[in-house]
Structure formats: structure tokens, C-alpha cells
């Protein structure tokens, strides 16, 4: 896998934010001036950073932020798996569902999704929803019964933990993968928050 990345051409990278807060993409910017080093190693394909919406060609690396909370997330994730050689789950939401996964079990309800939507749109104490309806426009992606980590939908090759991962961890991992020298994470810098 690493052999394909160590050749002379720049690696092609796609990124996406699924059910995340965009914090992990912001954390990519935390690598600061090393961005220049990274840009020497990669070209970006579809990504919120380039505003390209669909794959223009096959990519070496796909970076996924966020888990899957609706059918559009699943569709996008499957597209990434199909078009990328290596998939990286970036941050806790992509790895294990993260904050959105709070709706899975901690609602103390047999129907956690219903309870979540009702509190958000109908019964919450700080609401002003004059229609008293839960949004159900057909253009809205159908919500899943629960929030799924990426690896429950597709195979994930690498996971970078953190909420969000620090700029150092992101840069060291990406640079290590791109040069074929990634040897796992330093235990002292491992963080799940």
C-alpha cells in the first residue's frame, strides 16, 4: 500500500466532512506552515478545501471526518471507498460516532431517534417552532436509526484519534504515510478528546 505513495508524482487526496462539526478539517489547518511541506507532497481532489464536489479522478488517500447519521453520509462514504486507495478516519466522530452518537443510546428511550427529534423540534424548553412539526421535506436526507462509525459501513485503513486530532498528530501521520515511514502513534501523544 505504501509503495504506491512513495513514487515521484504527488499523491492525490480527497477529504469530506460527514456527521462531524468541521473541527477536524479546521485541525488540518493547525499544521500551520507545514501546510507548505504537505502541499509539496499532495494535490487535493474533491474536498471542502477546494470546493470540488465530485471526484475528478481516482485518489490515493481519502480523509473522512465524521460518522454516518443519514443516507447521504453513507452514499458519500461508499463513493470515497470506491475512489480512494487508502481511507483515513480522522477524529473520534469518524472512528466511533463521536458527539452525534449521543443520540444512539444515552437518550434512555426505546426510540432514541424519535426522542431526539421531538426534543429538538417540539418539546425542548428553549424552542420556538410555530409549525410544531419535525422537518420532513423530501430533499432532506433520510436519517439513519443511529449514528454509525465509518468502519461499520466500509473498510477503514487508518484511524487518527482525537477530538480534534492535534496539528502535530495529523501532520506526522500524513507525512509518515506519504513517505512510507508511518510506524504507529506515539503513546504519549495519543488523545481521544
Amino acid at each position: 500500500m505504501t509503495e504506491t505513495l512513495v513514487d515521484q508524482r504527488k499523491a492525490r487526496v480527497a477529504t469530506v466532512s460527514l456527521a462531524g462539526c468541521f473541527g477536524c478539517h479546521m485541525a488540518i489547518l493547525d499544521i500551520d506552515e507545514r501546510l507548505i511541506t504537505l502541499m509539496g507532497l499532495v494535490d487535493f481532489d474533491r474536498s471542502p478545501l477546494t470546493d470540488i464536489k465530485t471526484f475528478t479522478q481516482r485518489c490515493d488517500i481519502g480523509i473522512i471526518e465524521g460518522g454516518c447519521c443519514n443516507e447521504e453520509n453513507v452514499h458519500t462514504l461508499l463513493e470515497f471507498r470506491k475512489n480512494c486507495d487508502v481511507l483515513i478516519a480522522l477524529g473520534q466522530c469518524a472512528i466511533m460516532g463521536g458527539l452525534p452518537a449521543m443520540r444512539n443510546a444515552i437518550m434512555h428511550s426505546g426510540e432514541p431517534l424519535r426522542e431526539c427529534l421531538e426534543e429538538a423540534y417540539i418539546s425542548g424548553p428553549y424552542l420556538r417552532n410555530t409549525t410544531r412539526l419535525i422537518p420532513n421535506d423530501p430533499v432532506l436526507p433520510l436519517m439513519l436509526d443511529k449514528v454509525y462509525p465509518c468502519n461499520e459501513i466500509v473498510d477503514i485503513d487508518y484511524q487518527i484519534p482525537g477530538c480534534a486530532p492535534s496539528g502535530d498528530v495529523i501532520f506526522n501521520t500524513l507525512a509518515g504515510l506519504l513517505t512510507g515511514k508511518f510506524a504507529g502513534f506515539d503513546r504519549a501523544t495519543l488523545r481521544f478528546d
Binding site: 472512528i95 458527539l99 443511529k146 495519543l190 481521544f192 478528546d193
Partner: protein
């Protein structure tokens, strides 16, 4: 019979007094054996099995197994640590451990143990995602049992140190859990100053009115792996 004797942990000679467990002797010698249910000041339980070592060819929990003269103990090896990592990983799957939203994050022994054992992400098993109770009835203490790992520290502390028996195990097997001796915590004689309220390794027993008091960077495990205090004794 009361003379100190030596045994070996990973080939290193360790002195022990008769009656000491393997872990007690290791702690005194500055060798850290990972543990979750065991903590200073409470009787040993041998419940979590994270401290399992190979002693004389058998897997034993080092917090309860007495040291013996000449014993050969295997502790910090890839094989032992892999088993420990699997145990810790399964604890993450069994409860609802969402580190980014947890008040204990950075001070949590389960999380710190995952760091020490190099668990990058718990994704090998399905998440059980149990629906568990949140008990906020007490004015000073909240119980979020989503994060309970059934280590039993609060049970032992309440019974043995506080003399109260606020907590106890109920159920059997996979259904065993820690419960309070009453309809909810407010119905018990629990108070914030109890030893039981300060021994929880995870974010299950929460002290109210001081959430997220420690900033990131100043928390207990922000600097140094869990167990480094013990390991520094041998340096």
C-alpha cells in the same frame, strides 16, 4: 517465614515480604503493572483482570496473587499487553464511553490505560450501546452508569472505609452491574466526602458543581502515561 525473599518480574529481581501480592511488591520496586479495579487503600478484588501476568506459567491477577520465592513473572511483554489492550477495548465497547463529552476525560483511568496500551481506536467489535440510567437525584453527586466499568471500587470503599454499603453488585454474568442501596442515590446516606465518591476510575460518579474544572493541559494524564509515578521510583 517473615524474611524478605526475591522473585523475578520480566527477569528483574524484586524483593518481597511474605504476604505481599505480586503487584504490591512490583509497586514497591518501581515496576508498574497495569490495573483498573485495584487502587491504593482498598482491598484487592481481582475483578478487571487487566493486571493479569504469567506467573509460573499460569495466568493470574497480580493484585491478588501472593508473591513466592523464586517465582518467574511475565508482565510487560507484547503478549501480556495485547491481552490487556483487548480487555480495555472490550470495556469501551460494553458501555457508552464518549471521551469528547465526558467530564472525566484527561483524568480517566480507562482512557489513560487505553493510551498506555496503545489502543488507537476501539473498532474491532460491535458497540453494545446499552441504555443505562443517569441518576442525578443527589444534590452533590451524579451517577452516569453509561460509563461504569463495574470495577467495584465504590462498593469496596463504601463498605470497608465509609462503613455504609451505598453501592453493591446486582445481577449475574453480563447483566451484573453496580447499583445503589435504594431507589436512587438521594435515598441513601451517601455524602460527597465519602471515600466511595473519590475512587471512581471513570466518569460514572460525578461531583456536581465542578464540571470541567481542570483545563486541557492541566489534567492528571495530560503529561505522562498512567503508572509513570510508580515507574519513576525505580529510576
Amino acid at each position: 517465614m517473615s524474611d524478605p525473599f526475591t522473585f523475578r518480574i520480566d527477569g528483574v529481581a524484586v524483593t518481597a515480604k511474605p504476604g505481599q501480592t505480586i503487584m504490591e511488591a512490583a509497586d514497591a520496586a518501581g515496576i508498574y503493572i497495569p490495573r483498573l479495579c485495584d487502587v491504593d487503600g482498598l482491598r484487592h478484588q481481582g475483578g478487571c483482570r487487566v493486571c493479569t501476568v504469567k506467573a509460573g506459567g499460569r495466568s493470574v491477577s497480580s493484585c491478588t496473587q501472593p508473591a513466592e520465592p523464586g517465582l518467574e513473572v511475565e508482565n510487560n511483554t507484547e503478549a501480556r499487553n495485547r491481552v490487556r489492550r483487548d480487555l480495555v477495548e472490550m470495556l469501551f465497547h460494553e458501555g457508552n464511553h464518549l471521551c469528547p463529552i465526558c467530564e472525566k476525560s484527561g483524568n480517566c483511568e480507562l482512557q489513560a490505560m487505553a493510551y498506555r496500551l496503545g489502543m488507537t481506536a476501539p473498532t474491532r467489535f460491535p458497540y453494545l450501546e446499552p441504555c443505562r440510567d443517569l441518576d442525578a437525584s443527589h444534590p452533590d453527586i451524579a451517577l452516569d452508569t453509561n460509563r461504569c466499568i463495574s470495577c467495584g471500587r465504590c462498593i469496596r470503599a463504601s463498605q470497608d472505609v465509609d462503613g455504609k454499603g451505598v453501592f453493591g453488585y446486582v445481577g449475574r454474568g453480563i447483566h451484573r452491574r453496580v447499583a445503589v442501596n435504594g431507589d436512587n442515590l438521594a435515598d441513601t446516606d451517601a455524602v460527597l466526602a465519602d471515600k466511595a465518591m473519590s475512587v471512581c476510575p471513570v466518569g460514572c460518579i460525578i461531583r456536581k458543581n465542578e464540571g470541567f474544572r481542570m483545563p486541557i493541559g492541566a489534567r492528571h494524564f495530560d503529561h505522562g502515561l498512567i503508572g509513570h509515578e510508580i515507574e519513576e521510583k525505580s529510576k
